[in-house]
Each structure stands twice: as structure tokens, then as C-alpha cells.
Amino acid sequence: MTGILYLIPIALAMGLAGLVAFLWALRSGQFDDLDGAAGRVLFDDPSDTEPPASDRRLPP
């Protein structure tokens, strides 16, 4: 039974990591355009120049 003393914190930490990752994704606007993002991948051409990283986060 002493196993749970460290297993519980490990489980909780992993769960929290998932939660934090989701909240970060939400905050960085990855859920702003679900319809567009779904189709965008089908059109992205490897030869197309990606916009510079600094412009990825744009106002909605």
C-alpha cells in the first residue's frame, strides 16, 4: 500500500501536464479556427514558404 504514496503524485503530475498543455494550446489560439485548421493541412505545399515564426500568433 505504500506504493500509492508516490504513485498518486506521479499520476496527478501527468494529468496536470496534460491539462497545462491543453490550456496552453487554448491560449495560443490553436482552437480559434477549428474549421480552417482541419482543411489547411490538405493544401499546405512543402514548397510554400512558411510565414516567419514571429507572425504565427496573430489577432483573431
Binding site: 500509492i4 499520476a11 496527478l12 487554448l26 480559434d32 482543411g39 489547411r40 493544401f43 516567419p52
Partner: protein, 793 residues
């Protein structure tokens, strides 16, 4: 929700349909009319090929709800007014894009803009239909960028990004709460299952208490965070001395949490942390679905209205002109209105002769000629020639503002309607609280107060309206999706409920029952050669009758030296004499030779040949007769109200067999008629599209507009449908009836479940695992029942 964004490569069907549809915008066309429906589409197609972006055509799929990607005829609003220059030599522009269909459109616009070397970033958001642009250089370049997007076939409406608050902030807060509640529910449930499995058994009380404390540690912050939407709404309701669904939810959540903490502290056997976290999770799912469905609605129509006002051209005394926003016009200004522009403010014509299309204002299907001294109203479309208008009223005193005011007044009246779920909750909440109190009172007589409190809280947890909270939003989301696939957009959350109560249907005529534009009648009085000759005149005019002629004779060659006489017709001098195409009077046809309606006809007079008559009719929508008879079969009372002339309205009414009809009705009278109908207890569905229908749409019990309607109407209407078919009206009523039945079933089920579970709770037999199982069981049952609506299509 994303049924239309699937991107199956559809090369083969496109080729097969190429004969009958425009190759750019996909509009159906008469066979043999060439590849494109108009020169704008041909231009857009060439432009896309020139940019090397033809992949767009292979990858796109049409959204029945959106405007066809046909390059707009009217110029965009002045983009420079809205472009913002940043200090570092860059400028940016935010705008709304009308006509987005799928991810291919997004790709096309972004790629086309990125070909411009100055552009740093071009990003289109498909969900909110917004384009955000940043480029190096002056703000003036905005015009060029907007022009590029317009040439691709989209309407661009620039707006002031700073003035718009993020509409999705509330949605995001709900999603955050949902994530936290989900995390807490899952983890607490893990611990709880361990307790239920291990105690009493191998697990000792110390381990159980430890697990309870860990559960409390996870659940408490999560409940405080995820419960805020409910607490806030409950406090607001109590502050207004009302009660809503959130009051029993909040009371239940707080009491259950407090009691569980107390039990944990005194190392009791029962803690309900997992039930509380799960309850919040399920309720937030319902709340989020509800909000998301509503948020979508807000996007296009509302913003179009707010931002679409194109700037007006004001002429100064010295003859120079400048473009100003409509809001800053002053009384006495002289405004220049080019042909094809809308008149920006109420006023009188000071110079120029033209005809104006008033259909947006009063449903009148034919243009009126205006000359110096005529009064014109904001919203009329100038058809033929440039006009100078002296502004007589601005802002609050214009006709448009009057219509908006009538609409707002009507909408305030409607806000008093209470959704069924809230009505149920109003009776439900006090009953539940009394029951819990009675349970406590009953138990406290014979046992310690802790046990009594425990059982009272168990009653509250069991009766928490989880299924109620999910019952309505899930049905709504599924009904919305189903209607959406049929090209029908539900705008208002309570529209379905109101639609299911409808017993009277009021129709507008022009643009609703009819197509809203005249079509040539091929009655055999003219030959193909005559038609082509008339059309060679007609291509020079934007008059609706001329356009109908051109549609009837596609590919007509334009004749030279044609002169337009506003309100009269077109003329051309030939060596043999003057040829004329126009009204009966102007063409000199004697009243004896002509008979019938003088408004819907054109005469062609050629030297040495007999005069020819082209007759037009504002055709009914293809399935208007069928729809009306089906509505009658459904037992609805039918009324026709129109601002048009009595002959035209009477003819349509007799064709459809509608007995109650009134012609020449003003917007206020329409509103008044609806009020009279509802005062005798009729639940009225209004179907209309003109600006004059706006107040009536807002004051009706529920309202429907075609997507071709004025922006204002699309804002006022609860439902918008796409396409030429009126079948949408019966389809909406049918779906509303069925979803209303599902909602009632769901609510009935939730009540039944309570009737079964509450006695157990009162008897003190509900343990935490039983509470958790009952709660998720009822939620799943409700969702599964709602799914039936989507399956039987």
C-alpha cells in the same frame, strides 16, 4: 458542424457538371451558355490561372449557406479608412470576408495575397470569416490588397479591428472550465473507484482518508474554477429575485462539496467529490455546445450590417469630392451617387434623372424614375445614371433608423419569452429544495444531524438537473446540424421551440414567394431574332426588365450608340430612323393596341416593322405552390402581406390559393397586423426578405428570411435559408416539431429518473458510486435519445 469542409478531390463530378454550371462560381446555367455565368467569373478564373492556383478548383467544396464566389459588382468599402499603420513601417488591416466556402477558399486567398511581395502575413480564419493582413509600407496599399481578394470572387468588408471585442472570449472561458472539470472528474474518479473497490476490505480507514484528502485537494480548486459560470448566473438570477436552472445546480454543488469536506475531516465513509466534478463536467459540455451554436450565428449577418455601410461621396462647393463614412454626413450635404450605388441618406434629388430600385424599402418590384425634386430614402439602389442628392435627414431621423427602431422595440418584447427548460427549472428548483429540507427534517428527529444533512445533500445531488442541462442543448445542436446540411441556418437558440408552436404563417410577396425579379414570358409574340435584337439594346441598362431580357438571350452582342433615358427606355439612331425599347407611353404605342398590366412590359419599336411587346412576370419560386399547400395540409392559417401593388399581390394570392391578403402595407402596418394576430392568441411565423419586413420579422413569434434578403432582415430573422426552394419553410417546421418532441421526451425522462431515484436518496440509501452511476447514466440516455433526430434524415 464541419460537414462541408470535407475536401474530397472532386475532379470528375466537376467536369461532368461543367456543361451546366459556371466554372468559377458553380452557379447553375442554361446549357450551351458558355463556361461562365458572367464576365466577373471569367475574370476571376483567368486571374486564378495567372497566379497558378488552379488547385483551388480541384480541392474546393461548396457550402450551401455561403454566397457564391462571384466577384462583387459594387466596390468594397474604402479600405484605407480602416487600415492601421504601425510605427515600424508596416500597416495592417482586419476585414470580414463574405463568400468563404471551405479550406480551399482560405488557401486561395492566403496564397494570392502572399504573391504580393509587400505582404508579411495574410491569415484567414474560416470559423469567424475574418481576414487579417499585415504588410510593409503605406496604409494606402490596403486598396490594392482588398482588390486582389475581390477579384478572386469574395466580398471584403474592412472594419476597425480595435472596436471589435473578442466575441469568443466567453467561449474560451467555458472551454477552460470544461478542461479543468474534465481533469478533476477523471482523476477524482480514479481515486474513488479505488475506494469503492477496496473499502471495506483490504483498505484500511487511514488509506481511505488519505485518498479522500487527495480527492479534496484536486476537486476543491477545480470546483471553484469550473463552477464559476453557474455561480455567477445563479447570483444574477437571485439578485433579480428570479430563479433559474443554475440556482439548484449551485446550491447542490456547494452543499455537496461542503458536506464531503466535512465527512473527510471527520473521517466518514462517504465523500461525493467525484459526483460534483462529473456533474460540473457534464453541465459544462451542455453549456459549451449551447454557446458554440449561438456564437456561430453572430458572425456574418450582424457584422455585415454594422460594417457594410460604404462611404459616401460628398461634393464640396468648389466642386471637389471626398469620401466620408455615412455616419459623418450632415444635413444639407450634396452627395454624389453613382449608378449601381445605394443612396446613403434620406434626401431629395438636386441634379440628374435616373431610376431607383426601392425593393429593399417597400417590396415594390419595379424601379421608379426620379428627377430633380424627387424624394429618395437611404437604402434605395440607383440604377441608371449618376444622381446628386441633397441630404435632408441623417442618423436617428432617417427612414432606415425608423425601421431599426421598430425592430428593436419588437425584439425587446420577444426577450420576455422564456425557454421551456427555464420554465421547467422555475418550478423544479423550489420543489427540489423543499424536498431536501423535508428529508433533513424527517431524519433529524430520529438520528444525529450529520446523517440528516448527509441524506438531504444526497437528495440534492441526485436531483441536480444534469440531464435537464444537457437535454435541450444536445437536441438543438443536432437539429442545427441537420438543418445546416439542408442549407438552413438557425440563428436563435429558442427558435426551434417557438417554431414548433406556430399556427399561422405570414408571407411577404416579392423575393419571398416570388423570385423577386421579373422573368420574360415566352408567349410566342416574338421570334428569337427579335429577342436578340432587343437584348442588344438591353445590355446597356441595369433596369430589372432589361436584365431579364439579357438573361433570356444569353450572349447577345451589344448594339452601338445606345442612349438610356431613365424611366423611359433605350434608343438608338439608325439610318432608317430611331429604334426604341421601353415603356408603352414612350414608344408611342396606343392604349388600344396594348392591354393588360402596363408595368411589366417592354416595347420594341423599329422603323418599318410592327411594334413588339415583351411581357414579364415576377415568377413564383419553383415550389411555392407545393409549399403553400403542404402548409395548409399541416393546418396552418396563411396570410399574405405585401407592400406591392394590389394587382400584383392579388394575382399571386389567387395563384397560390391564399385567401387572406393585403397589398400596399407599410412596415409599421405589417408590424401592427402581426401584433393583432398575436393578441388573439395566434403564434405567427413571418417569412420575409425586404427592409420593410424587418420590423415584422422581429415582432413575429418566429421569423424566416431567404439568404438573398436585406442584411437587416437576416439580422432580425431567426432562421435563414439558402437557395431558390421554399421547401425550407416546411422542413424547418418539421424538424422543429420533432426536436420539440425529443426535448419533451428528454425532460420527461429526467423527471422520471428523479421519481425513481429520489425515494432512494430520501431513504438514505444512495451511496457515492450509485450517485455517480445514476448521473452519468441519465446523461448518456438523454444524449442517445437526442441523436435519433440526426439519424433519420
Amino acid at each position: 458542424m464541419s460537414a462541408v469542409t470535407t475536401l474530397a478531390p472532386s475532379r470528375a463530378p466537376e467536369r461532368a457538371a461543367a456543361a451546366a454550371a459556371c466554372r468559377h462560381c458553380g452557379a447553375p446555367m442554361a446549357r450551351g451558355g458558355g463556361d461562365f455565368c458572367c464576365s466577373g467569373c471569367a475574370g476571376a478564373y483567368a486571374f486564378i490561372r495567372e497566379l497558378g492556383l488552379e488547385r483551388y478548383y480541384a480541392g474546393r467544396s461548396f457550402d450551401p449557406r455561403a454566397r457564391r464566389p462571384r466577384p462583387p459588382e459594387e466596390p468594397a468599402g474604402d479600405a484605407r479608412l480602416y487600415a492601421a499603420a504601425a510605427g515600424d513601417g508596416t500597416a495592417s488591416l482586419a476585414s470580414l470576408v463574405d463568400g468563404l466556402h471551405c479550406a480551399a477558399c482560405v488557401w486561395l486567398i492566403e496564397q494570392a495575397l502572399q504573391r504580393d511581395p509587400a505582404v508579411i502575413a495574410a491569415r484567414v480564419n474560416l470559423t469567424t470569416r475574418r481576414l487579417f493582413l499585415r504588410w510593409r509600407g503605406e496604409a494606402e496599399a490596403a486598396t490594392r490588397m482588398v482588390r486582389t481578394v475581390q477579384r478572386l470572387g469574395y466580398r471584403v468588408i474592412p472594419y476597425d479591428a480595435a472596436r471589435e471585442s473578442g466575441p469568443s472570449e466567453e467561449e474560451r472561458a467555458l472551454l477552460r472550465a470544461l478542461a479543468v472539470a474534465g481533469f478533476a472528474a477523471a482523476n477524482v474518479m480514479l481515486l474513488s473507484v479505488a475506494i469503492w473497490a477496496g473499502f471495506p476490505g483490504e483498505m484500511g480507514p487511514a488509506t481511505r482518508d488519505l485518498l479522500h484528502w487527495v480527492s479534496a485537494l484536486i476537486a476543491l480548486p477545480a470546483i471553484v474554477f469550473a463552477g464559476r459560470p453557474f455561480f455567477r448566473s445563479a447570483i444574477a438570477a437571485l439578485g433579480a429575485r428570479r430563479t433559474n436552472m443554475d440556482v439548484p445546480i449551485s446550491v447542490g454543488v456547494i452543499l455537496a462539496t461542503g458536506m464531503s469536506l466535512f465527512e473527510t475531516a471527520r473521517s466518514g465513509p462517504h465523500a461525493y467529490f467525484e459526483s460534483v466534478a462529473m456533474l460540473l463536467f457534464f453541465l459544462l459540455v451542455g453549456r459549451y455546445l449551447d454557446r458554440r451554436a449561438r456564437g456561430r450565428v453572430r458572425s456574418a449577418a450582424e457584422h455585415l450590417l454594422r460594417f457594410a455601410a460604404a462611404p459616401a461621396t460628398v461634393l464640396s462647393a468648389d466642386g471637389s469630392s471626398r469620401r466620408v463614412p455615412v455616419a459623418s454626413l450632415a444635413v444639407g450635404d450634396s452627395v454624389l451617387v453613382a449608378a449601381g450605388e445605394r443612396i446613403p441618406a434620406d434626401g431629395s434629388v438636386s441634379q440628374g434623372r435616373s431610376s431607383v430600385d426601392k425593393s429593399l424599402i417597400d417590396g415594390e418590384s419595379l424601379p421608379h424614375s426620379v428627377e430633380p425634386g424627387s424624394d429618395v430614402l437611404a437604402g434605395m439602389l440607383n440604377i441608371a445614371a449618376p444622381l446628386r442628392v441633397t441630404v435632408r435627414a441623417v442618423g436617428e431621423r432617417t427612414f432606415l433608423a425608423e425601421v431599426v427602431r421598430l425592430m428593436e422595440a419588437a425584439e425587446r418584447g420577444r426577450a420576455r419569452l422564456v425557454a421551456l427548460a427555464d420554465r421547467v427549472a422555475r418550478r423544479y428548483a423550489p420543489a427540489v429544495h423543499l424536498l431536501a429540507l423535508a428529508t433533513f427534517a424527517g431524519w433529524v428527529i430520529a438520528s444525529p444531524w450529520q446523517t440528516a444533512l448527509l441524506n438531504a445533500v444526497a437528495v440534492l445531488i441526485i436531483t441536480c438537473p444534469c440531464a435537464l442541462g444537457l437535454a435541450v442543448p444536445v437536441v438543438q445542436v443536432i437539429a442545427c446540424n441537420r438543418l445546416f446540411r439542408a442549407g438552413i441556418l438557425l440563428k436563435s437558440a429558442t427558435a426551434l421551440e417557438r417554431l414548433s408552436e406556430v399556427d399561422t404563417v405570414v408571407f411577404d410577396k416579392t423575393g419571398t414567394l416570388t423570385r423577386g425579379r421579373p422573368e420574360l414570358c415566352r408567349d410566342g409574340s416574338f421570334g428569337q431574332e427579335d429577342l436578340r435584337e432587343a437584348a442588344s439594346f438591353a445590355v446597356h441598362s441595369r433596369h430589372p426588365l432589361s436584365r431579364a431580357l439579357c438573361r433570356a438571350a444569353p450572349g447577345a452582342r451589344a448594339a452601338e450608340d445606345v442612349e438610356e433615358h431613365p424611366g423611359e427606355g433605350l434608343s438608338r439612331s439608325t439610318p432608317e430612323g430611331e429604334m426604341r425599347l421601353g415603356s408603352r407611353r414612350w414608344c408611342g404605342v396606343s392604349e388600344l393596341a396594348a392591354s393588360g398590366d402596363a408595368d411589366l412590359e417592354l416595347w420594341l419599336v423599329r422603323p418599318g416593322l410592327a411594334s413588339l411587346r415583351f411581357r414579364f412576370e415576377d415568377e413564383l419560386r419553383p415550389d411555392a405552390v407545393e409549399t403553400v399547400s403542404r402548409l395548409r395540409a399541416m393546418g396552418k392559417r396563411l396570410v399574405l402581406l405585401s407592400g406591392d401593388r394590389a394587382e400584383a399581390v392579388g394575382r399571386i394570392a389567387s395563384e397560390l390559393g391564399i385567401e387572406e391578403w393585403t397589398a400596399r402595407v407599410s412596415p409599421a402596418e405589417k408590424c401592427e397586423t402581426l401584433r393583432r394576430l398575436s393578441s388573439v392568441g395566434d403564434r405567427v411565423l413571418m417569412v420575409g426578405d425586404g427592409l420593410n419586413d424587418g420590423p415584422a420579422l422581429a415582432s413575429a413569434h418566429v421569423s424566416i428570411s431567404p439568404s438573398s434578403a436585406a442584411d437587416l432582415c437576416q439580422t432580425a430573422a431567426d432562421v435563414i435559408f439558402q437557395g431558390a426552394s421554399l421547401r425550407a419553410v416546411t422542413e424547418v417546421l418539421e424538424v422543429a416539431r420533432r426536436s420539440e418532441r425529443l426535448v419533451r421526451e428528454n425532460i420527461g425522462f429526467a423527471i422520471l429518473y428523479n421519481l425513481a431515484a429520489v425515494p432512494l436518496a430520501i431513504a438514505g440509501m444512495v451511496t457515492p458510486p450509485l450517485a455517480a452511476a445514476a448521473m452519468s447514466g441519465s446523461s448518456i440516455a438523454v444524449v442517445a435519445n437526442a441523436l435519433r433526430l440526426g439519424r433519420r434524415a
